[in-house]
């Protein structure tokens, strides 16, 4: 075997392993904290005999390099020489939140249609050239995002040719009328396809319940918006917002700044700046009282449940408290919801909680798909867990486990350069301190059981909890009625009155 030590990547050369246990001490630590022998949690029996190292590996995250092109375009590079590939992403600092008020989805359509034709390449030529290189090329903007992203990922030996097409679709899209019309037809058909998916129906209703008419109240652009889109609309959005002074080019992979800078300058250096109007970030509306909304999906054998509240902005000072709270409540298979609803009750294949937030407040939401017959039991356990995380302090073991999970996973992220780059992008988009990810473990470690409870009481609010269910209304309706008045809708989002309601 070749000794690989000498080939250690420079990014990891400074790896700091604090108090890494020797094999001897590892052997002596069987049964060590945080799991104690004989201790158990709901859904799991902990014998405490497996050898767990008490230490959390402290890892040094690789640093990105930065540069600026002559026209002011920011370039961020994270070198990663693990494998001979690269990913480049243009982040345009305008997305769905810059859509005209009556044209939700325009940013999304603009991004998607970039590759459907440029001044010098047809849609088909772009597809053939990109695929021949083995490159993937995608572009997207959310209905309520504040960015649009164009991403190309390929083999490093094809970097130059990829960059050429990447720059062309970003700078010179033509939005040909025939391609626009074909796209609109595809989108309308795609909406039909989405409406057969129960998780989509639940997400759509839940977002509307939380956000009302705020752009985040939409999951996808409405049909009217698709139908009214013209080539001129797309060109206008593009020329207004796709400007070097309103973008950031990020790259991760097997390249160096020295070798790519001249290429980037050639591809983007003469991209003209523009006067980009400021996009106002609309605040999320204040929460209303609890509503229970049920979407009748005849033929369903499961009920999709989503229960949640308005949460926080990404930069909110409660971020780390919510992060740890979510980890304990439903952040993975070792969390309370999974252990209770799946491992203990076996109601479901999985039960989780999630939270997110951008420049406006996100949501804190718990969800699971359960067989119709146990909808009642599942609702009971959800309400029990939501109440418990508010009313009782989490145990020291739970708190310690959550922190170990969150901080410990940084070691694994070193093998995921794309995820590391996304972290760096997040830091830049939200103007966080340059050492944000370096101090992240300390921020997590500083959270106390009181912090977790405060976060739960603030953001898991039962008096304005929004409850959405998708399933067989003839069976789920009475169960949900125990928690309040149930509004019933069909899959198109139309209210179903009792007289109209189809008999099962």
């Amino acid at each position: 075997m070749r000794n690989l030590t000498e080939f250690r990547n420079r990014f990891f050369a400074a790896l700091a392993i604090v108090a890494l246990a020797s094999s001897m001490s590892l052997a002596q630590q069987r049964g060590g904290a945080p799991v104690q022998t004989g201790q158990s949690v709901k859904g799991a029996d902990l014998k405490g005999r497996a050898p767990v190292s008490r230490e959390i590996l402290k890892v040094k995250l690789p640093k990105a390099e930065e540069a600026t092109l002559s026209n002011g375009l920011r370039v961020v590079l994270l070198e990663s020489h693990r494998v001979p590939t690269f990913t480049m992403q243009m982040v345009v600092m305008s997305g769905g939140l810059s859509d005209p008020p009556n044209h939700h989805g325009l940013a999304s359509f603009t991004a998607t249609l970039l590759r459907e034709g440029t001044q010098t390449r047809s849609s088909k030529e772009i597809a053939e050239q990109i695929d021949t290189l083995g490159t993937t090329l995608g572009a997207a903007a959310g209905v309520s995002s504040f960015t649009s992203t164009i991403t190309a990922s390929g083999l490093v030996e094809n970097f130059d040719q990829t960059l050429d097409i990447f720059a062309d679709v970003i700078r010179n899209p033509k939005f040909p009328q025939d391609e626009v019309e074909k796209f609109k037809q595809r989108q309308l058909q795609q909406l039909q396809f989405l409406r057969s998916n129960p998780q989509f129906l639940a997400a759509e209703r839940f977002q509307r319940a939380i956000y009302g008419n705020h752009p985040a109240g939409l999951v996808v652009a409405p049909a009217e918006s698709i139908k009214s889109t013209t080539s001129a609309d797309l060109a206008k959005f593009h020329s207004t917002y796709y400007r070097p002074n309103n973008a950031m080019l990020t790259i991760v992979g097997d390249v160096t700044l020295k070798e790519i800078m001249p290429k980037l300058e050639k591809a983007f250096g003469d991209w003209q700046k523009g006067d980009v109007p400021e996009t106002k970030i609309p605040a999320a509306p204040e929460p209303g009282a609890t509503r229970i909304q049920l979407i009748d999906r005849p033929g369903s054998v499961q009920t999709v449940l989503q229960l949640g509240n308005l949460g926080i902005e990404r930069t909110n000072q409660d971020y780390f408290a919510v992060l740890v709270m979510n980890q304990i409540l439903g952040g993975g298979p070792a969390a309370r919801l999974f252990m209770n609803l799946r491992e203990d009750k076996s109601y479901t294949y999985g039960a989780y909680s999630n939270f997110g937030g951008s420049k406006f407040r996100g949501t804190v939401v718990s969800s699971s798909d359960v067989r119709t017959e146990v909808t009642e039991g599942a609702m009971h356990e959800f309400m029990y867990e939501l109440k418990r995380i508010r009313d009782e302090k989490v145990t020291p073991v739970e708190l310690e486990n959550a922190k170990r999970a969150l901080v410990g996973s940084f070691a694994l992220s070193l093998e995921q350069p794309n995820a590391l780059l996304q972290n760096i992008v997040t830091q830049k988009l939200y103007n966080m301190p340059a050492d944000y990810w370096d101090t992240y473990p300390q921020m997590v470690s500083a959270i106390t059981a009181d912090d977790v409870q405060r976060a739960a009481q603030k953001y898991v609010n039962l008096s304005n909890l929004q409850i959405v269910a998708v399933g067989d209304a003839s069976k789920a309706r009475d169960v949900l009625a125990k928690y309040g008045t149930v509004e019933v809708y069909d899959a198109e989002g139309q209210p179903v009155t009792d007289s109209k309601k189809a008999t099962p």
Binding site: F7, V83, L155, P198, S300, V370
Partner: protein, 456 residues
């Protein structure tokens, strides 16, 4: 600072390759070479180690040579149900404790089952190597088997089936396809199994399955990551070598008779809104020259927006909202799949005819140079990106060792794809993509309140 040292990456011709194969890699292309060491324990457990200190991570994968192809009539879904039991405790590990410990220490883990294998993997910070070895060894040695755990996971698996099959559009279509396409029971049923058979699974079944298939001599263990090989091998031996060997499991008859005529079925789906057509052609086992040619064929015909089917049926004459497919890799007889979701109002027969017309054109004229290049570059990017993490390398090595008895396939796979010629692609298109070798399932949305089958 700018030195371009790569821990695994070198010019292929310079690599200290275990294999002696020399491929014609074009100038500038760099491949990833994995140096591994293979060891066999006294109890027959095959161990493969890949020392890689580039990140403080270890990943272990244990693949057992058992899948749903080993199931008997009346016990479909059992191999996968059994996989769930592997998380419900062993002599020194409580129920649920395995994943409780992995996730609460910054790790990641899972298990998956398909027709041909069952695999378990854990990735952890490198100071938790002993934890991973202990957890995997304890359940290989001493799984706890009781009715409470079985009933508990039977329910979870039945929810998994509802989530993936019974509560989603086209779920039934996939099952119908598999049942129609294959004649040999090994592949004729799905891995998730039927509700009825899942209900029939007993504690005795679990005990017998464990003894027969979860033996060290029926498994491959791959460990990748930040450790010293000699030390890690000692730890592996300490944890695993005393687990007793068992008699070899009975061989599976994988013979699949030649198909003599087209097969068709219709499905009425109350959850679907758009019609769908699934087409399958029976092919060959994986890791064969014809299989690699079929992969290239699939890229040309149905891979990405430049593909012939996308350009013809989505762009030129819009008939479908989505069309995709792949050459399925199996230890036994594989298949070449195409799935098209139709636009409202389009006739399934018209879409089928359009697909066959593209296939016939390809059979007659072959593929273009750029399409061959597309397939090879796309495969390369995908494969190389898949080598980023220790976990994916461990999984790949274990699975290919169980499938093909070839851990070195991780170093030779791309050469095999590179060897495919345009003539190979045209030949396999003509050999396998024939009308008599075809199985077609047409799914129609079932009108609300309809009780009778939609006629063909």
């Amino acid at each position: 600072m700018r030195s371009k040292q790569r821990f695994l990456v070198g010019l292929l011709m310079c690599a200290l390759a275990i294999t002696s194969s020399v491929s014609a890699v074009p100038k500038g292309e760099r491949n990833v070479h994995v140096n591994y060491k293979e060891t066999k324990l006294k109890n027959g457990l095959r161990v493969i180690t890949v020392e890689d200190k580039s990140a403080p991570v270890i990943a272990i994968d244990i693949t057992y040579n058992v899948g749903s192809r080993n199931e008997r009539q009346g016990r479909t879904g059992f191999a996968h149900l059994f996989e769930h039991m592997m998380f419900k405790g062993s002599e020194n590990v409580g129920t649920g404790e395995h994943f409780y410990l992995i996730f609460n220490n910054g790790g990641n883990m899972n298990g998956t089952t398909n027709e041909d294998r069952t695999t378990y993997f854990d990735a952890l910070p490198s100071n938790q190597l002993d934890l991973a070895l202990f957890l995997e060894a304890d359940r290989m040695r001493s799984l706890v088997i009781n009715k409470v755990n079985l009933d508990n996971q039977r329910n979870a698996v039945q929810e998994e089936r509802r989530l993936g099959v019974d509560n989603v559009p086209y779920g039934e279509s996939g099952e119908v396809m598999q049942g129609l396409l294959y004649d040999n029971f090994a592949y004729k049923h799905t891995t998730i199994g039927s509700m009825e058979d899942l209900n029939a699974a007993s504690v005795e079944d679990v005990a017998a399955f464990f003894k027969t298939y979860y033996a060290p001599n029926n498994a491959v263990l791959t460990l990748v990551g930040d450790f010293d090989t000699a030390d890690a091998l000692n730890r592996i031996k300490k944890n695993f070598e005393s687990i007793p060997r068992q008699p070899d499991p009975p061989p599976v008859d994988m013979t699949e008779p030649e198909q003599k005529a087209e097969r068709r079925a219709n499905v009425d789906d109350a959850l679907a809104r758009l019609p769908q057509i699934d087409i399958a052609f029976k092919t060959v086992p994986g890791n064969t020259p014809d299989f690699y040619a079929l992969q290239v064929l699939s890229a040309a015909l149905q891979g990405g927006q430049s593909s012939r089917l996308y350009q013809a049926l989505v762009k030129d004459k819009p008939m479908v909202t989505n069309i995709f497919g792949f050459a399925d890799e199996k230890r036994g007889t594989g298949a070449f799949y195409t799935t098209a979701t139709l636009r409202q109002g389009v006739k399934p027969a018209d879409v089928e005819a359009a697909i066959y017309s593209e296939i016939e054109r390809l059979k007659k004229d072959g593929i273009a140079d750029w399409e061959l290049q597309k397939a090879k570059n796309g495969t390369r990017r995908n494969f190389i990106n898949g080598m980023q993490s220790s976990l994916s390398r461990a999984l790949q090595i274990s699975v290919w060792t169980v499938y093909y008895n070839d851990p070195n396939l991780i170093n030779t796979r791309l050469d095999k794809v590179s060897a495919v010629t345009k003539e190979d692609v045209q030949r396999v298109a003509n050999k396998y993509l024939t009308a008599t070798n075809r199985t077609v399932v047409t799914t129609m949305p079932k009108p609300k309140g309809a009780t009778t089958a939609v006629k063909q």
